[in-house]
Subunit: 155 residues, 2 copies
């Protein structure tokens, strides 16, 4: 990066975060591919595993997937038998999304390789740095969330 062209004084933070994520996710991608599940689909499965059943709106906020994207992803996931959708009785607009035995079995099969990859990463960066880094990410998100309620694309 040449510092002569003085158009911008700051480093590109969104790009840095993207690069960091790419370096991390590239170690998980082969696992997802081997099990025939896409990155977004897996993000949703894992969120439902961690948090329990959710409505699309909640899934979108947690997984950072916009409402229009989610419509397609959930539709495909239902066709694949990874989730089931059910209208709420007391509010016909809303939807209840939950995992299926199939997706639970899938995550059980994937878990060992996922965990092994986390151990690989922690071995490279060190447990201490790892903990500090998670903390820093939480702090960043918290600081940016406190004043601005984390708007998503389609809102």
């Amino acid at each position: 990066m040449n510092s002569e062209s003085g158009n911008f004084r700051h480093r590109n933070l969104p790009l840095l975060l993207l690069q960091a994520r790419e370096h991390v996710i590239s170690r998980f991608r082969p696992i997802l591919n081997a099990h025939g599940i896409t990155e977004q689909q897996w993000r949703i499965v894992r969120a439902l595993l961690d948090t329990g059943p959710m409505e699309p709106r909640e899934i979108g906020l947690l997984c950072r997937i916009s409402s229009p994207s989610l419509a397609g992803v959930l539709s495909r996931m239902e066709e694949l038998g990874l989730i089931k959708r059910k209208r709420l009785d007391h509010d016909q607009r809303r939807l209840h999304v939950s995992l299926t035995p199939r997706s639970r079995a899938l995550s059980t099969r994937m878990a060992p390789q996922i965990e092994a990859t986390y151990r690989d990463i922690e071995a490279l960066i060190g447990a201490e740095f790892s903990a500090r880094f998670y903390g820093a990410l939480d702090e960043l998100i918290g600081a940016l969330t406190s004043h601005e309620p984390a708007a998503l694309a389609n809102e």
Copy 2:
């Protein structure tokens, strides 16, 4: 997050990085929209500004855009007059991508708002934390790069 369902012991690092990036980029998105340029197109313009002319392969590695995505993005950018493409004389496979007066003027118009947003963010998270965070990102990327050469999707 309930800790009862013991499927995974680690927090979802790719998701955390995605959430962090989304919180950051959501503050820049209005600027990009107001100037009619997409996120990927701006990432490329800014990279060419910082680094100078590059070939698609280099752009892809730096901006983390896969070769097939890049083909379409660069094609649209050329139509919009944001870049120009030229075959290299000594290697007819390769391509030379550079900015145009139009995109340089665009970045000059956008620069004040971009810089102001960086100041906003730094005011929220603090200059000291900001510097440490950049350092941590560099360290993470460095650690993950040293043993694995940062493979992209289409390689």
